[in-house]
Amino acid sequence: MKKKIYIIATVAVTLFLSACSGGGGTSEGGGANQITITTCSTPSTGTITCGSGTIPNNYTCIESGDTLVKVDSNTTVQIVQNPNSKMVCIDSGSAYLLR
């Protein structure tokens, strides 16, 4: 009786974890909403709403949870944060926000 319990328990545990199978590593990839970041040298022609404030429209608004991607390691960006909003623009290189 005791042995049966152990065999059943072992098989159950093994089956349970086998259901979680999937060898090797994992990945996060496609489907992100890609937002192009503006360049800092672009003249500002107005303002846009960002957070609870407004920012110059030569900046791109950073929302909570946005992922910042620099295409090259040499890419430099300016990130400005004030109490009402957070914004970014590109000094050099290429960068995007994933939202």
Binding site: M1, K2, I5, Y6, A9, T10, V13, T14, F16, L17, C20, S21, G22, G23, G24, G25, T26, S27, E28, G29, G30, G31, A32, N33, Q34, G65, D66, T67, L68, V69, K70, V71, D72, S73, T75, Y96, L98, R99
Partner: protein
């Protein structure tokens, strides 16, 4: 009342006849922490949300006492992080070393399931598994003839790698969830 006493006597007899000193079950719960490292492979990624490093966990297992000093266990455990769930199937060999303390070596098959993206994208491959190894140290205290309480610290190294590959962008990074530390409180019976 008489019927209840008879039922209790029968249940007690059945329970006693089933319990053998050699074998035991184990149920435990506790907390786990995990080390997470992010590496940029091409370009640079600033994550939208940070990986969760702390989790609650549950553990069940069976064990066998070879001698009064040596015992082995087969355990299954689940760790609940915000962004991943980790299931471990562990085998351990243990030695009672001093008074009620024991140490053990652990080999594990560790399964990971991603539940949340850190770069606001789809989870293109959400399940993976890796072999792991580690050790644990514990303290046990007999509560009754057939029941033992234990506390245990376990270190397990099982490196789960998650590639970060935003679609359409020539950028690549990785998250490595490497070592896992767990503190468990449980009972063996």
């Amino acid at each position: 009342m008489k019927r209840l006493l008879v039922l209790m006597a029968i249940a007690s007899a059945l329970y006693s006849s089933e319990i053998q000193k050699d074998y035991f079950f184990q149920v435990a719960a506790g907390a786990a922490t995990m080390s997470v490292q992010q590496n940029d492979i091409k370009g640079s990624i600033t994550l939208g949300s940070q990986p969760d490093k702390n989790a609650a966990q549950i553990n069940v297992g069976i064990g066998y006492n070879y001698t009064s000093e040596l015992f082995a266990t087969l355990e299954a455990e689940r760790q609940f992080y915000d962004d991943v769930t980790i299931n471990n199937l562990l085998v351990s060999a243990n030695k009672r070393i001093y008074k009620n303390f024991y140490i053990g070596g652990v080999v594990a098959k560790s399964y990971i399931k991603l539940t949340k993206s850190h770069i606001n994208s789809n989870l293109t491959d959400s399940r993976g598994s890796e072999w792991g190894y580690g050790f644990h140290i514990g303290y046990e205290k007999a509560y009754s003839k057939d029941m033992t309480l234990f506390v245990q610290y376990r270190y397990l190294k099982a490196a789960h790698k998650t590639m970060l590959e935003p679609q359409t962008l020539p950028v690549k990074g990785e998250l490595i969830r490497d070592s896992h530390s767990a503190f468990l409180v449980g009972v063996r019976f």
